[in-house]
Subunit: 221 residues, 2 copies
Amino acid sequence: MSERVEVERKVLSENDKLAAEIREGLSAKKILALNLVSSPGSGKTSLLEKTLYVLDKEFNIAIIAGDVQTDNDAKRLERAGGKTVRPIMTGGACHLDARMVVKVLDEIDIDKLDLLFMENVGNLVCPSGFDLGEDMKVVLMSTTEGDDKPLKYPSMFRKSSALVINKIDLLGLSDFDIDKAEKHALQVNGGLDIIRLSCRTGENINHWCDWLRDKIAEKKE
Amino acid sequence: MSERVEVERKVLSENDKLAAEIREGLSAKKILALNLVSSPGSGKTSLLEKTLYVLDKEFNIAIIAGDVQTDNDAKRLERAGGKTVRPIMTGGACHLDARMVVKVLDEIDIDKLDLLFMENVGNLVCPSGFDLGEDMKVVLMSTTEGDDKPLKYPSMFRKSSALVINKIDLLGLSDFDIDKAEKHALQVNGGLDIIRLSCRTGENINHWCDWLRDKIAEKKE
């Protein structure tokens, strides 16, 4: 097994080097870069649709939409008004890596960009190990998943700066206890900013957009 | 990258060898072995709780409950009446592998067993590549995820023999189109047995249990 560990270490160290270059390039242009991670179906694409709807005229936004197969998400985001949306199909790989991001960034004119979203593959485990050069990770969970997810998948919650709890319109229709979910998340990572919202009804989407406005402003300072 | 591919191939071939041994051992005792796979939060543990409730007196059932961290699921299943429940904490790994299963099987008295569930880590990508020696994979999805999941994560649906669509009590509260979901699943794998149910209300749990009874009977022939 040591051969395997050694190869994994090498892959990760190459990835980290490339991610550092991405980070430097984006930071030089004062672009806020967010890596969106979650289980499949938590609502990453829906959140981006709502975000485009509110912030698309205020900021220049680009989105890299990662998926194992299909460019469904990228198409949805273009329909939602996204002017710069690029799909990455990983072709079986369970996460985005810095190499995939570099290739796509080469095709984007980043000169006037304020905000770059990297929508990762839906997977609560593997993407946590791969730095994409983002400023921060934002993890989503939804009220239809278990409230113990932060305890079961701690690495992802530990490495994220913000937690979005989506589908609050469905609270009460399952055994999900949102206060318990928050407690578990903070137990794993006390520094998390937490935003409860519903992409479906639009409730609290303004909180999320205000959070983004703050982070974009901080980045430009 | 070829070094990486070579190591991955070696790991998988070692896994396949071990899985074949597991399969042979379980088949010699005519035990039906199912590998349960899904996103986090689709309801694998809830489905097993309901299954225990209905079938625990009819059959000898053992459950291996895999998770990245915590033995929460194993504890839930013991509370639900599971007499033989063994947790596997993968400690960061994104899937169960045959080596982990062998270790746990050594601790279980399989002589009188009818049915073995292996509840995999919640992950729609990686577990599809690792044979655990099961007779078949059962993939779960829930009505709160997107109905295009089979197209986005085709490998898992292709390698499964049955699809359980859980949380039908929440149909109509999201944009999920269950007929479209089935169509997508059958497009990827025309041989899937599909069961729609709700672990929360219990609706159609009898269909699932009948399906299990049939498969257990076939195994004993």
